[in-house]
Amino acid sequence: MTPIEPGLVELGERREVRIAGVRMAGRRRRPSGEKAPLQRELRTSGRFWLLGGLAMVALWVSLFAFPGTADWWTARDMSILEWFVDLRNDTLTSIADAVAMLGSSTFVRVLRIGTLVALVSVRRFRHFFAVLLAILLVQLAVDALQIFIGRPRPFVPIIGGWNGPAHPSDPVARVSVTLAAMAYTLVPKGNRRLLAFGVAGAVVASLVLARIYLGVDHPSDALVSAIFAFAVFTVLLRWFAPEGAFPVTWKPGVTAHLDVTGDRGTAIRRAVSEQLGLEVLEIEPFGQEGSGGSTPLRFKVAGDPDQFVFAKLYSQVHVRSDRWYKIGRTILYGSLEDEVHFASVRRLVEYEDYIQRLMRDAGVPSAAPLGIVEITPDREYLMVSEFLERSQELTKAEIDDAIIDQALALVRCMWDVGLAHRDIKPANVMLSDGRVVLIDVAFGTVRPSPWRQAVDLANMMLILALRTDAQRVYDRALLQFAPEDIAEAFAATRSVTMPSQSRSSLALLKKQRGIDVVQEFRRLAPDTEPISIQRWSPRRIRLAVGAATLGVFAIMLVIQEIRGGGLL
């Protein structure tokens, strides 16, 4: 191995960059073959269950492709079954009968309803839907496979209750998926969850043994069902509600904010150090109540003195949320603006970084970007930027005419260069050292529709009026906008065009002081016809019809399953 030149070891340290007063030094390139800071979340247990599930699928395919396989399995099953038949006596039969009750629909129904009620009570709807979906999928798969495979019950004296074909075992699958759901969604990660898995495993194993003893299932029927059901839930949950993004806690109202402790915290520190040359001393959530599209964080980084930087962590969960959000908007309103979703996390952060730099180039003050940090390739990225110290939300600051003019000038500037912010709300308009700064430009767009630009103006005027009054803001706006522009802005304004934070502030103002700011602006501006926000397109019709069809199909499936006693 060629020794590294001692001088080059410190190369990164010597290459120092300073952005917005933040000194970055010591950056290094990750060499080929070196693992990324954070590996994909499907770890050993996930891989085990994924492989287990795939093995079951392979087994089923082999049954059809190679008929001799079924004979081989039956021979193995029969030898085990006959051994169990030889063991039969009254005591063991009584025990097996009792244990087999674990697979009864009443027992499973109680567990399932209890789990779903518990999840709703703590508003963990992702887990709720994951459980529902897993139950439905497993039941559908079991029902379909039972018909396709059509395996008779074991050819030994059967002394227990049964219903339908033997393979896969319906009661074992129902109990397994239910217990997996309970362990994964009700018990926080750690030793307690391991214990829950142990209990679940013991219950399923007891049920499997009891059913084999009673001669109602072949060993392969029961084992395959247990593994398949557990695998389905494990893989589905990790895809739909990964632990890192949706940790199991008993605090209500958990949103899609990633957990930045543990492995991810370590990976973030390492990645920021290597890729930006910043030593992270502390990581803390920052402003999460106003953000659902990313996990906003504040880092304390080593320096002289120590400084804060702002970071937003993006993962696939956020990309998927963005995708569903845009599909929902398209169905409800049509293509109001660019509703095309991002194909990957990488594209999302690249876009936000681009917009942030474009805004700054255009003269729109915003936080200086420090760089993009890769946590897990293509899956998790961190956008790091200047932290606006000594800043506060505009709606919490003292506002004079100069501030109002600055804020309105930002909108004017965006209009002039063909940009729209699309998320102008109190939390995104900051006052920093007497300067109005726009943050969180992720939703920004280039060459937006005129409607979208008008909405930006209306939202900015509403924020300003929250701290002053509509007349004053309107008068100042006339210095930069034509009365018709303002009229258009409020003709376009609807409840849905206002960010929820603005909506709630306006509602509070109306309740406390009886002032309807939107109506005030409409009264001041020239009369104009309201602008419809509904836009029709073939895509909207397709999506709406598709969503309605899927909805009806899902409801029918659920009703059918409930009627059949299979689901709940």
Binding site: F148, G150, R151, I158, G164
Partner: protein, 281 residues
């Protein structure tokens, strides 16, 4: 695309190579052996000498559903997603209210307990005298061959002059749905008076054609509802019928032809010879 390709490969493997599956509870022995469905029927009631099987779906029978669980098994026949005929094998059945009929099998007893609304629509004509009788007979001649809802109409003339008109009407209504009364005035004007157990089908001064239209509006569906029981050594097969309309007209004969009894005992013996247990041979 890659996922699609994998799906296609799996589907091809499953669809192209499959030589087993649930199969049908068919009365014919398949070339590959008895179907899984039939075996499970036999496992469900291990004492029963026979288990129900299906020869073929008859005209108007959309689909068949099989079911089996410990203690009972059988087939359901559906039309428009509704089950109208179920054949179930159980270890025993209650035939208390049923009537014994010839089964056609030496080792099977048959019982029936059914409610039938026949296809034919019977109209009893009650004339009040000789002239009305002639008028009534003339009407019957004129209306011969006319059907209501594709169902033949049978006319019965009750000219028992020893009985009063009202008692003849009462008797007719107790046995049939519709009565036409023809009195002297009706005979002169060529009309009838319609009486029925259904108040919507009553009227007077009606031409025979109008009287038929009145009945057409309220005529009940043909129905065949109830049970047939076949009892034999170690079990019972019950046919449950719940049919109305056109299906009811043929369901009984179709059930006779299409549903059979698979000899479970024979299969058990064969299985036992092969070292498998599917019930006591």
């Amino acid at each position: 695309m890659r996922q699609l390709a994998i799906l296609v490969i799996i589907a091809a493997a499953v669809g192209g190579c499959a030589n087993f599956g649930l199969g049908e509870a068919s009365c014919a022995q398949a070339t590959g052996g008895t179907s899984s469905a039939t075996i499970m029927n036999i496992q469900a009631v291990p004492t029963a000498k026979y288990t129900p099987c299906l020869d073929e779906l008859r005209l108007g029978w959309d689909s068949v559903e099989w079911f089996a669980e410990d203690g009972r098994a059988g087939i359901k026949i559906l039309r428009s997603f509704d089950t109208f005929l179920t054949a179930t094998v159980t270890e025993s059945c209650d035939v208390t209210d049923a009537v014994a009929v010839e089964s056609g099998y030496p080792d099977i007893e048959r019982f029936e307990d059914v409610e039938i609304q026949a296809t034919d629509i019977t109209i009893v004509i009650v004339p009040s005298g000789r002239q009305p009788l002639e008028a009534a007979l003339s009407s019957v001649d004129e209306l011969a061959g006319i059907e209501i809802d594709d169902r033949p109409v049978v006319y019965v003339v009750d000219d028992d002059v020893e009985q009063s008109v009202s008692s003849r009407v009462e008797l007719a209504l107790s046995q049939h749905e519709y009565v036409w009364i023809v009195d002297e005035l009706d005979a002169e004007e060529g009309t009838v008076q319609v009486r029925s157990n259904n108040s919507a089908a009553t009227g007077h001064g009606l031409r025979p054609g109008e009287a038929l239209e009145l009945i057409e509006g309220v005529v009940p569906d043909v129905l065949y509802r109830g049970s047939w029981y076949f009892t034999f050594e170690g079990g019972c097969i019950t046919y449950e019928f719940d049919t109305k309309g056109i299906l009811a007209e043929t369901v009984a004969s179709d059930a006779e032809d299409a549903i059979g009894f698979f000899p479970a005992g024979e299969l058990r013996r064969e299985a036992a010879d092969a070292g498998f247990f599917v019930g006591q041979p």
